[in-house]
C-alpha cells in the first residue's frame, strides 16, 4: 500500500539522508517558531531524545561537510516512525477497523458542489459557465473534507455532540471556493493549459475572463463568509487570501543562501497551501469553542497536514508520470521552481545551485536537474520531511477527545503520505 519510493527510502535510510533531514527539521522548527508555531512545537532533537529507541550518530556526513545544517547530533529518523503514535507502517493488517476519512465526511459533502453552484448565482450565462467549470465534482474536495472532520471532532470535544453547525458547513464550501479561485489565477500566472485532466479556463475563455471569474468566485466566497456573522471567522479566513498572494510573490524570488532558501521554501509552502487548511480548521473550531488552545490545535493540525500535503505534491512532481497527476512531470522545474527534492539534492550536487539561481532557464537545465534529483536522496528526504509534519499533525490532533472524526483525521495523514496522484 505504500509508495515504492517511500518504502525503499525507508530501507535505505542511511546516515546521509537521515541526518540532513534531522538537522533540517531542527532548523526549520527554530525558524518557524517565531511565526505560526505554538510553543508546544518541539525541536526534532528534543522529540528524538525522549524516545528510547533513538540512536545518535556523531560523525559528520562526507557529502557536504560545510553545510550549516550539520551542527547538531544526529538521530535516526526511523526511530520516530515506530513510536506508538506513528500510523504509517505497522497497521496494514487492521485495515478494516480504520476509519475512512472519505466515507466519514461523505454525508456532509454530498451536495457540496451543488450548493457552491447555488451560491455562485449570476445571470450572465458565460460568467456562470466559467465559475461552475471546476465545481464539477471531480476534484478531491480534500479541503472541505478536512474542514468537516475537524468541525465534528471539535464539536465532540467541546459539547459531546458531533452535529455539524451551519456555519461550519459554510466554511467547508468557502475553503473549496477560495482554493478554486486561487487555482484559476495560478493557471494564468503559470500559463497552464490543463488542470485535473481538463483544459484550463484561461485556455478556453482567455486570460482576462479567467482572472475576473477568479475574482468573482472570491467575492462570492467572501459574501458567504460574512453571512456566517462572526468577525473572528472573517478575520481568520481573510488572512488566507493575503497569504495566498504573498506566497505567490515569494515564488517569484529565489534566495542565494541555501539555508535562507529552505526557509523561504517552507514559508512559501505554508502560505500557498497550508494557510488555507490551517485557517479553515481554526475557523470551524472558533464557531464551537472559545478556548484559544483548541483553536491552536486545529490550526496546527491543518498547518502540518497542509505542508505535508504540498511536500508530497512536490515529490510526486518527480515520481509520478504525466497522466497520473494530470500535469506533466517536473512541471515545477519547467516553471523555474526549486521545490523540496531539488533543494535536498543540491546538498549532494552543488552543481544544482547555479541552475536554481537561474531558475532552470538555460537549455537542458530541466533535464539535468531532473537527473541530479533522481540520483540523489532528494525525493526520499522530502518524503521523510512530509512524514515528520504528519507526525506533528497527529500529535496535535491527539489532544482532542477521541471520536471517529478525530481518528479519521489521524488516518488522513497516512492517506496523504501514500497518495500517488
Amino acid at each position: 500500500m505504500a509508495v515504492p519510493v517511500r518504502q525503499c527510502g525507508l530501507c535505505r535510510a542511511g546516515n546521509h539522508g537521515v541526518t540532513l533531514l534531522t538537522a533540517l527539521c531542527a532548523q526549520f522548527s527554530r525558524l518557524a517558531g517565531s511565526a505560526a508555531v505554538s510553543p508546544r512545537w518541539p525541536s526534532l532533537s528534543a522529540t528524538a531524545q525522549s524516545l528510547s529507541t533513538c540512536q545518535v550518530i556523531s560523525r559528520k556526513t562526507q557529502m557536504t561537510p560545510d553545510s550549516l545544517f550539520f551542527r547538531k547530533p544526529y538521530f535516526y529518523y526511523r526511530s520516530l516512525l515506530t513510536t506508538p503514535n506513528a500510523c504509517c507502517y505497522n497497521k496494514v493488517h487492521d485495515e478494516k477497523q480504520k476509519p475512512d476519512p472519505f466515507k466519514l465526511a461523505q454525508k456532509d459533502l454530498k451536495d457540496l458542489y451543488e450548493d457552491i453552484k447555488k451560491e455562485l448565482f449570476v445571470s450572465k450565462a458565460e460568467l456562470k459557465c466559467l465559475c461552475d467549470y471546476y465545481f464539477d465534482g471531480k476534484g478531491k474536495a480534500l479541503r472541505p473534507m478536512i474542514v468537516v472532520l475537524m468541525a465534528r471532532a471539535c464539536n465532540f470535544h467541546s459539547n459531546k455532540t458531533r452535529e455539524l453547525l451551519p456555519g461550519q458547513r459554510s466554511i467547508a464550501m468557502i475553503s473549496e471556493m477560495i482554493h478554486t479561485a486561487s487555482l484559476v489565477h495560478d493557471d494564468v500566472i503559470d500559463g497552464s493549459s490543463t488542470r485535473r485532466g481538463k483544459t484550463t479556463v484561461n485556455e478556453i475563455w482567455g486570460e482576462r475572463k479567467a482572472i475576473l471569474a477568479g475574482d468573482f468566485i472570491l467575492s462570492v466566497a467572501s459574501m458567504a463568509l460574512a453571512r456566517i456573522g462572526n468577525n473572528s471567522v472573517v478575520s481568520v479566513l481573510s488572512q488566507v487570501i493575503e497569504d495566498l498572494v504573498r506566497g505567490e510573490f515569494m515564488q517569484l524570488g529565489s534566495k542565494e543562501n541555501e539555508n535562507e532558501r529552505f526557509k523561504h521554501y517552507l514559508e512559501k509552502t505554508f502560505k500557498k497551501t497550508a494557510s488555507l487548511i490551517a485557517n479553515s480548521c481554526k475557523a470551524v473550531s472558533i464557531l464551537v469553542n472559545s478556548d484559544p488552545e483548541i483553536h491552536e490545535i486545529a490550526f496546527q493540525y491543518g498547518r502540518n497536514v497542509g505542508i505535508a500535503f504540498q511536500l508530497v505534491d512536490d515529490m510526486l512532481d518527480f515520481t509520478s508520470s504525466a497522466n497520473q497527476l494530470g500535469k506533466p512531470s517536473a512541471a515545477d522545474l519547467r516553471l523555474g521552481l526549486a521545490t523540496g527534492p531539488v533543494l535536498f539534492a543540491c546538498q549532494q550536487f552543488p552543481e544544482l545551485h547555479a541552475m536554481i539561481m537561474r531558475r532552470f532557464s538555460s537549455a537542458g537545465d530541466v533535464e539535468r536537474a531532473w537527473q541530479y534529483v533522481m540520483q540523489s536522496d532528494g525525493v526520499q528526504q522530502t518524503s521523510y520531511l512530509a512524514q515528520h509534519y504528519c507526525q506533528e499533525a497527529i500529535r496535535q490532533i491527539s489532544q482532542l477527545c477521541p471520536s471517529p472524526e478525530r481518528d479519521a483525521l489521524v488516518q488522513l495523514t497516512e492517506t496523504i503520505l501514500t497518495r500517488n496522484k
Partner: protein, 383 residues
C-alpha cells in the same frame, strides 16, 4: 516603474499643490480641480495618500521593478500604472473622497451602540477612513485586472508574446495583492454586514465588466443590442455599484439607520451613472477630431441613437461606414450620431442622474460636506 511609483510618492510628498486632478475629464478642469480641492480640505485628509501604504509595500515595489522591463511594450498594465501616477482619466481616489464626504455629511450617529464620537477626526470615524481606502484599493485592483491581455488575440506583429505573458503575470499578482489587502482591511472593520456589502460590490464589478464590450476603438464594431434600460443596469454594475455600496457601508459603520443608508446608496449610484454619461457625451460635444475617429460604439449616445433610428438602420449605417476608409467611416458615423437625437437624450439622462444624486444628498442636514457633495453632483451635469 519603480521609477513611476517612486515618482508618485515624490509628487505627493513634495508638491501636492502642483498635482492637477483632471477628474472627470470635463471641458472645464479648473472648475473640477476647485470642487475637489475644496472637498479635500473638508475631510481634513489628503486623499492621495490613501493607498500609499499598499503601493509602498515590498510586494508592489517588486512588481514595479519587474514591470520596468515592460515599459516599451504595449501591455495595458503600463498605462494603468501611469494612470496611478498622473491621476488622469482614471479618477484616482475620487471614490474614496466621496465616501469620506458622505461620512462627514451624515455626522455622528445617535444610536446607542454607535462608535464613540470622540474617536472622530474631522467628523469622520476611523473605520470610515479605512473603508474609503478599501474602496480605492478595490477600484485600483480592477483597473489592473481588466487590463489583462488574452494571449491568443495577440499576434506576433504586436510584439513578443513573452512580454505579454510577463505583463499578465505582473497584472494578476498586483491586482490580487490590492484585493487581498482590501479583504484583510474589510475584516478589520469588524462588521460582517459591511464585509458582505463590499464583497457583493466586487462581484458586481466583475459582472459589469463581463457585460462590457472589450473591443477597443481601433475597429468599427457593431453596437450591442441592448435598450438604454439594460445599458444603465450594466453600467451601474461596472461603474456605480462600488461607490453606491461604499457610501451605504459608510453609513452602516456609523450605525446610521436604514433610511440614511438608502440615501447614501442612491447618491453614489446616481453620481456614478451621471459621471459615466458625462464622459460618454464628451466624445460628441468636444470639437476634437481625435474623438471623431475613436468613440465607443457602446457609449450612451450611440445606444440611444440606435434606439431612436432602430437597430436595423443603425447596423446598415455601420456596414456602409465599414466599406470606407477607416477614419472617414468613423467620422461619418460620428456625424450621424451627432446630428441625431442620441446625444441630446444622453445629456438629458446625465441631468436626470445628477439631479437624483442632488435629491438624495439634500436629505442630509446642511453642512460643508453636504455642499461639497452637491457641488460634485452639479459638476457631473456640467456639459
Amino acid at each position: 516603474m519603480t521609477l513611476l511609483f517612486g515618482r508618485k510618492t515624490c509628487d505627493r510628498l513634495i508638491g501636492r499643490c502642483v498635482r492637477r486632478l483632471n477628474l472627470f475629464s470635463t471641458p472645464s478642469p479648473s472648475n473640477w480641480t476647485k470642487v475637489v480641492s475644496d472637498a479635500e480640505k473638508i475631510v481634513g485628509y489628503p486623499t492621495s495618500f490613501m493607498s500609499l501604504r499598499c503601493l509602498l509595500s515590498d510586494e508592489l515595489s517588486n512588481v514595479a521593478l519587474h514591470v520596468r522591463k515592460l515599459v516599451d511594450t504595449r501591455h495595458p498594465l503600463i498605462n494603468t500604472a501611469r494612470g496611478f501616477v498622473f491621476d488622469n482619466k482614471n479618477n484616482l481616489q475620487m471614490r474614496g473622497l466621496v465616501v469620506l464626504l458622505i461620512s462627514k455629511a451624515a455626522g455622528p450617529s445617535l444610536a446607542a451602540d454607535a462608535p464613540l464620537e470622540q474617536d472622530m477626526v474631522s467628523g469622520i470615524y476611523p473605520s470610515q477612513r479605512n473603508l474609503a481606502e478599501i474602496t480605492e484599493l478595490i477600484h485600483s485592483a480592477f483597473l489592473v485586472h481588466r487590463g489583462i491581455v488574452n494571449l491568443k488575440d495577440w499576434t506576433t506583429s504586436d510584439g513578443p508574446l513573452n512580454d505579454m505573458q510577463f505583463g499578465n503575470k505582473m497584472a494578476v499578482l498586483s491586482g490580487d495583492f490590492l484585493l487581498a489587502n482590501a479583504c484583510t482591511g474589510l475584516a478589520q472593520l469588524n462588521n460582517t454586514k459591511v464585509v458582505e456589502l463590499i464583497s457583493s460590490a466586487i462581484g458586481d464589478l466583475v459582472q459589469g465588466i463581463y457585460y462590457e464590450n472589450n473591443r477597443t476603438g481601433e475597429e468599427i464594431n457593431i453596437t450591442d443590442d441592448v435598450p438604454i434600460g439594460s445599458w444603465q443596469d450594466h453600467t451601474f454594475l461596472s461603474h456605480g455599484a462600488l461607490l453606491a455600496k461604499s457610501c451605504q457601508a459608510a453609513m452602516e459603520l456609523a450605525h446610521h439607520e436604514m433610511r440614511s443608508q438608502t440615501l447614501a446608496f442612491q447618491y453614489g449610484k446616481h453620481l456614478s451613472l451621471g459621471h459615466k454619461l458625462n464622459s460618454d457625451v464628451q466624445a460628441f460635444v468636444k470639437e476634437n477630431t481625435c474623438d471623431r475617429t475613436s468613440f465607443n460604439f457602446n457609449s450612451a449616445p450611440v445606444i440611444l441613437h440606435q434606439q431612436f433610428v432602430g437597430r436595423e438602420q443603425w447596423i446598415c449605417e455601420i456596414n456602409k461606414a465599414r466599406s470606407r476608409h477607416h477614419d472617414a467611416g468613423y467620422s461619418e458615423l460620428w456625424r450621424i450620431v451627432k446630428s441625431g437625437k442620441g446625444v441630446d437624450s444622453a445629456i438629458d439622462l446625465c441631468h436626470y442622474h445628477g439631479n437624483k444624486a442632488l435629491e438624495a444628498i439634500k436629505c442630509f442636514p446642511p453642512s460643508e460636506a453636504r455642499s461639497a457633495l452637491e457641488n460634485i453632483a452639479t459638476a457631473v451635469t456640467n456639459l
